[in-house]
């Protein structure tokens, strides 16, 4: 089974986003960028499938600027076989990303697409769902556990009220949630080895995808800030404040 893993280069999850003074977006100059954490979980799952000989080949694909190649290298260092880099300097919307990924999946003959449930920058949580519908494949959203069997997957999903298990016929898309696995750190020899693994260079035009944005960003602002309140002495004082000052109990 060929497994495709889309990976996105995003602002590192430990770095606080800062809005540009002209309100045109978030300032990404001179800040640490990393692989989207949910995509890292997807890469780990794909590599584990390969180690268990369930996956015959693993391919990481990233759509983004020249530096997105570093994100692909990270995936290769974790154990993915090869990469596809679709270069663009535009900040593409999930709809355009899903269209490109559909074309890549078809060109590669992927049978399973493992991807993050959302990217932590734009927080749309839409690409996986869109991609699955475009391909006409079933989807297992928010995977907590994945078991493979002949021609199908059993996915335990994180849902609002607990956990739900579904069976999906392959080919399929699965999006990863936090508890699926703990991604490995790439070892130095594997980082060196990753430098020799192939990355194919592509552009959105190679796939004939119209990437024009559908949404117009009017502005991006700082959120309303909350002022720090007061410190109370003890539990009795806390109850007094909540009851008599705030009136919430």
């Amino acid at each position: 089974m060929k497994v495709l893993v889309p990976v996105k280069r995003v602002l590192d999850y430990n770095v606080k986003a800062r809005v540009k003074p002209d309100q045109s977006g978030v300032d990404l100059s001179n800040v640490k960028m990393s692989m989207n954490p949910f995509d890292e979980i997807a890469v780990e799952e794909a590599v584990r499938m390969q180690e268990k000989s369930v996956a015959t080949e693993t391919i990481a694909v990233s759509i983004g600027p020249a530096k997105a190649q570093e994100t692909i290298r990270t995936a290769l260092a974790m154990g993915v076989d090869r990469g596809v880099h679709v270069t663009t300097d535009e900040d593409l919307e999930p709809l355009a990303v899903a269209k490109i990924l559909k074309a890549v999946a078809e060109a590669e003959g992927a049978e399973l697409i493992l991807m993050g449930k959302q990217a932590i920058d734009n927080d749309y949580g839409a690409t996986g769902g869109m991609l699955s519908a475009m391909l006409g494949w079933p989807i297992g959203q928010y995977a907590n556990t994945i078991e493979t069997k002949e021609g199908a997957l059993t996915v335990k999903r994180e849902i609002d009220g607990g956990l739900q298990t579904v069976e999906l016929r392959l080919p399929a898309v699965v999006t990863t949630d936090l508890r699926l696995n703990e991604p490995r750190y790439a070892s130095l020899p594997n980082i060196m080895k990753a430098k020799r693994k192939p990355i194919e260079a592509k552009t959105p035009a190679d796939y004939g995808v119209d990437t024009a944005p559908r949404l117009t960003v009017v502005k991006v602002t700082e959120p309303k800030t909350r002022e720090a309140g007061v410190k109370v002495e003890d539990a009795a004082a806390l109850v007094d404040k909540l009851k008599n000052e705030a009136g919430v109990i």
Binding site: V26, F38, Y124, D177, A228, G229, A246, V248, I249
Partner: protein, 312 residues
């Protein structure tokens, strides 16, 4: 102009998130119809007709809609969209799982988790709520998920008729196997007036009983930080934050939670925040209205006793 609102329900009853999404739909403007897609959900459909401002309720009953699986929901919603200019759903996981499929079929860029609608401009948090984007959509049909904590529920008093429609759901390629739902007599996390949340500082799952006593006294829902869920102290569906649930109760009590960006993203719109943490430098105190710097193992029994003194 007509807007379709997708109801949140568990087949037995309609959830509050539906009336909140109707409020958001009213800001989009036009006639509002509510879709109740499920199995044996006619009571929920009747309730949806009572929401103020609803023109009609469309009730689709189908075996494959019992668990509102993404593939079946996609087929059901897309088939109705000829008659609508926009479709809105709450942004819970059930809906987030299928709405992008609807958007793709309509060749539309989804607008996710909106917290405000002003004319044709949608407001939505990005970067875990560290920035707020205001966007306009050029798509002829809009697909929107709504952060329901940001909208008040529409009132009751409507008398919309319920019309049944059938769904043509083909081979979906997916099948429901089983469900493990957390059983609780407490209110639901996203709709509760008071939320009591614990973090890594709780130290173990057993220690959450210290919080549960307080939650039960206050009639509160239980929540947790990602750290507490990752450590296996409590179930995943208790998680509050960027990738968990967004809550905005009257009172959010955070205990043993340091206040990572990702956690604050899910609770900083609460009306009042109270925090108990032994580290006075913890970031949670920078958003808390009331902070108690104390060892939680000492403070929680005291808090429970103090609540008892004032009648809880």
């Amino acid at each position: 102009m007509a807007v379709l609102v997708i109801a949140e329900h568990d087949n037995a009853s309609l959830k509050d998130a539906t009336a909140k999404t109707v409020t958001a739909a009213a800001k989009v403007g036009g006639d509002i119809d509510v879709l109740v897609a499920g199995k044996g959900a006619s009571a929920a459909a009747e309730s949806a007709g009572k929401i103020d401002g609803v023109r009609a309720v469309i009730h689709v009953d189908h075996d494959l809609l019992e668990y509102q699986m993404p593939e079946a929901m996609e087929a059901t919603v897309v088939a109705l969209m000829d008659g609508y200019d926009a479709v809105l759903s709450p942004d819970g996981k059930t809906h987030q799982a299928y709405m992008p499929r609807v958007a793709a079929r309509l060749d539309t860029q989804q607008i996710s988790s909106v917290t405000g609608i002003e004319g044709d401009t949608f407001e939505r948090p990005i970067y875990a709520g560290n920035a707020v984007a205001y966007v306009k959509s050029g798509d002829p049909k809009k697909v929107v998920t709504v952060r329901t904590t940001a909208f008040a529920p529409a009132g009751e008093g409507g008398s919309a008729s319920v019309k049944s429609e059938s769904a043509d759901i083909g081979d979906t390629g997916s099948a429901f196997v089983s469900e493990e739902l957390s059983k609780s007599d407490r209110p639901e996390l996203t709709g509760a007036k008071i939320v009591v949340s614990g973090g890594r500082g709780m130290g173990s799952g057993e220690n959450f009983s210290l919080l549960e006593g307080i939650a039960d006294k206050l009639g509160a829902a239980m929540g947790a930080s990602r750290a507490a869920v990752d450590a296996g102290y409590v179930p995943n569906d208790w998680q509050v934050g960027q990738t968990g649930k967004a809550v905005a109760p009257e009172l959010y009590l955070a205990v043993g939670i340091s206040g990572a960006i990702q956690h604050l993203a899910g609770m900083k719109d609460s009306k009042v925040i109270a925090a108990i943490n032994k580290d006075e430098e913890a970031p949670i105190f920078s958003v808390a209205d009331y902070g108690l710097v104390a060892d939680l193992f000492k403070a929680l029994p005291e808090l429970e006793a103090e609540l008892a003194k004032v009648g809880y």
